[in-house]
Symmetry: C2
Subunit: 358 residues, 2 copies
């Protein structure tokens, strides 16, 4: 059996983490890396991810990476935003590769740009290749997991879900985009100026859920509020005095007519325990039956994104062509065994070899 | 757009419940019912499920039901056991129908009978039709949901899960198969005699999980222990004196070598609250990261089985031919909209109409 050959585009914390997981798995091979950082270009992938046996050299372009070695699939981990990954994705498809990206907006790209989604789908169809946007959130907690849970309901009248996490492990960029350490006035200015963004992915998760359930959302409203520290909180990268901002409480509501049918909340702050806040992923379904799910503590964001992305490789490799979402693919799973074997099972689960004679 | 035409085979509590859900949905039509009960044969389906608008007549055989009206898919809800539904499933396939069954052993039929699984798969392939065994458990709680959760893990070293439920709503048959109201001695005799069976589905859930994750289980051990009431518990159908059996604690362990990698537990009893036991569905994953999930109270068994089964219709209608399991199909979801539209989306998510121009 051959290996699935994977190129990693973007060797930051996420891309490197995914590469590291794949280096340790069977049925998959790291065939190249692409990065814009001159300090990484020309070095071996193994040096960057601390897996000496990975000898592929990091290139500055996909073309160079592919010239060195062929590939089947590319992981694009360069940015959160559709406008920044769009050309990368099209580049993968033109080169005949399946593409998985962790760009949050790609979880359901029509939420931010319908015509870009249509174009990516067209290019994917023409190339006979698959595109998926995924990650822990959007991609898993506040969409795929919710959708899966509704599968046990005869009727769903409304959904409320919350992802309550701790930003403490994250670096300076996240502190800035969540407004951690700002004064309430600076927070407001950051919101209007677009430097404080909160969570990227609410419209994406909501539209993914709505399409899966056959709902028609009439509108989506988003709210970003500062989480004010009552007492000082000191993180690795930032000090938040009492009265300053410990994070951003970002929420979104999806309406059918005037009724809120879908309410997602993602308060992100450093040291929530300081305010007695328990972290976790919480889903409440109002329906038949009512269901209440809690994952405590929350699924960690970085590890979760790396895991979901690596774990979806067999399903994407096996899937038909076009732009897909997590809702149309088989349930995610940790593939501990051979990734190519997992892909073959998913491509044709009714193949005779999968149900051998006793 | 046409409707998916569904025949319900077996109009007990589950089959009737599924029929009722479908009667209230769009894009699906109840085209017939089959039952062995002379009191139901010849009556309208609508009369039996309290939906007067459903005029299809209940037949004694599938042939009769199909002669009256064509169908696309049959729900088989006649028995828990492969040996009893096998000929029904083959009958559906021979008649050119997709088939979903709630027979617990069909969630992963190779667990109890490899050659029957191979045969059903062969017949399904030859007919170009799909077979799925599903339900709340096996089918959802202790397999699909576990598999989905591992999707957020970089590594899984072990899985422990518990479904703690309350048998109080169930009827006399369930009381007997779980040994409720017996003395400890009668319980032991019932176990050896095969009249007390506990939960049907552990090997099925375990093998489904193992195949999805690429694990090779070397063996599965099951244990059934009586749950002794410390104080009297009185249910609708049974009285349990102190010192007698309130239910059956059935558990199973899956081994790789000598290591338990998978431990599933399903204590079923009447009035667990009397012993201070909280009901719920609990999943613990030991890995990277560790994950802990709780659904409290548990997803109710009857409603859940009806829901999951009805909700899987679009995915099964859309799927390729053969014997499938929940692990190879798209994540379950409550299809509130049109079921045929949901099936078309799942059949080809990259179709141009799904990503319209903005």
């Amino acid at each position: 059996m051959k290996d699935i050959r994977v190129v990693i585009w973007g060797l930051g914390a996420m891309g490197s983490g995914i590469a590291r997981v794949l280096a340790d798995r069977a049925g998959v091979r790291l065939s190249g890396g692409v990065d814009a950082d001159p300090k990484k270009i020309g070095r071996s992938l193994g040096e960057i991810i601390d897996r000496p046996e990975e000898t592929a050299i990091v290139s500055s372009t996909l073309e160079e990476a592919l010239a060195e070695s062929g590939a089947d699939l590319c992981i694009v981990a360069t940015s959160s935003f559709l406008r920044e990954v769009r050309s990368h994705i099209v580049g993968c498809l033109d080169a005949g590769l399946d593409c998985i990206t962790i760009a949050e907006e790609m979880a359901y790209p029509a939420a931010s740009n319908q015509s870009a989604a249509a174009e990516i789908n067209r290019v994917a169809r023409a190339a006979g290749k698959t595109v998926l946007g995924t990650g822990i959130n959007p991609g898993f907690v506040l969409d795929t997991l919710i959708i899966a849970l509704t599968g046990a309901c005869m009727e769903v009248r409304g959904i409320r879900a919350r992802r309550v996490n701790d930003l403490s492990p994250f670096g300076p960029t996240v502190m800035k985009t969540q407004g951690v350490g700002t004064t309430p006035k600076e927070f407001e200015r950051g919101l209007s100026g677009g430097t404080i963004v909160g969570h990227v992915g609410f419209p994406e998760s909501m539209m993914m859920i709505a399409r899966a359930l056959g709902w028609k959302l009439d509108r989506i409203e988003q709210t970003r509020r500062p989480i004010i520290a009552e007492e000082e909180r000191v993180g690795e990268h930032v000090r938040v005095p009492a009265g300053s901002v410990a994070g951003c409480n970002h929420s979104a509501r999806g309406f059918v007519g005037d009724r809120v049918v879908l309410e997602l909340e993602h308060p992100q702050q450093i040291q929530p325990a300081a305010a007695g806040v328990e972290t976790g992923d919480f889903i409440e379904i109002e329906g038949i039956p009512d269901l209440s799910l809690a994952i405590t503590p929350e699924i960690p964001g970085g590890i979760g994104t790396i895991a979901v992305t690596a774990n979806m490789i067999p399903a994407v490799f096996a899937a038909g062509p076009g732009l897909l979402t997590m809702a149309e693919l088989p349930v995610p799973r940790n593939v501990a065994g051979n990734l190519m074997a997992a892909a073959e099972l998913l491509r044709d689960p009714g193949a005779e070899k999968n149900w051998r004679e006793g």
